[in-house]
Symmetry: C2
Subunit: 167 residues, 2 copies
């Protein structure tokens, strides 16, 4: 496997992984491309390398910037904007954890709290609904607290913690 093959394989694998997570392919591929590029890339560069349209590139770059894992960079004396990804894997993990907590876990926790707080009329089905949603609420809350821990710690906390768990 030469450089070109390896790079393409990485980009396409990252792209499919994204799909599996509800992140669209283009967004994941742009991230992969920037992740392994030693130099900042322009929109043209990205469009050409991934064979996608200007609009698509623009929209997905914005999303990556919203996630806080890609940044604009301007080269002195050039009008064009260049893009770079966050290169530190720890920081990447922190940002992804933070976004997923905000977008996915927090809203579901809110619903679980509301549902598990309905009045208990003593019927079997009501008791079951309360019991089961309460159990999920506890699990999701713990997961969310853990994610927030990660987000608010120094950047090598993850590795240290994982190591603790593994041993």
């Amino acid at each position: 496997m030469n450089y070109k093959e390896a790079k393409e394989k990485f980009i396409s694998t990252w792209g499919s992984l994204g799909t599996l997570w509800g992140i669209n392919k283009a967004m994941a591929q742009i991230h992969a491309l920037l992740w392994v590029s030693p130099e900042p890339l322009s929109m043209e560069d990205i469009m050409e390398e991934l064979q996608i349209s200007r609009g698509n590139t623009s929209m997905n770059l914005r999303q990556l910037m919203d996630w806080g894992i890609v940044f604009k960079e301007s080269k002195p004396g050039e009008r064009k904007e260049y893009f770079v990804s966050e290169k530190d894997v720890q920081e990447l993990a922190r940002q992804v954890a933070k976004e997923r907590s905000r977008r996915e876990i927090k809203p579901v926790i809110k619903t679980l709290r509301e549902v598990s707080a309905i009045e208990n009329d003593g019927s079997k089905k009501t008791k079951e609904l309360i019991k089961q949603t309460k159990a999920l609420y506890d699990l999701a809350s713990n997961a969310d607290i853990m994610m927030n821990k990660i987000v608010n710690q120094e950047s090598n906390w993850i590795t240290k913690t994982l190591m603790k768990l593994i041993n």
Copy 2:
């Protein structure tokens, strides 16, 4: 919020969460319905409650059974098959972790290992590709090892571990 509203809210929230994770809506909703049902439900029951077709119900129940979080149950003297979900939240988490590791993390680790193992020709771009895919490989491996820990421990390991992390 009465019982019916609460149940519907839970089912629809769980459905959207599924979508966000690349699990289809029907699959997540069937799981939610079984999760809060004190009694096993037949295919008819599920079809009627969620207003979905027989084919859809059948295919998604099979997937839930593949994931190991829903089981068939037969009532003595009845031809019809009934379905129940795993009710223990810990066991649910273990099964989900196990499946996600197998389907999502393991394949990506394999690619990252292959890509990060290409020959280093000393060029800047090759060095960057190796360095960055290696960093992701390490992160993904650690995450996967942690998930496997979870899967292979006694069922309340998660809670105990989360508690340790939180304090």
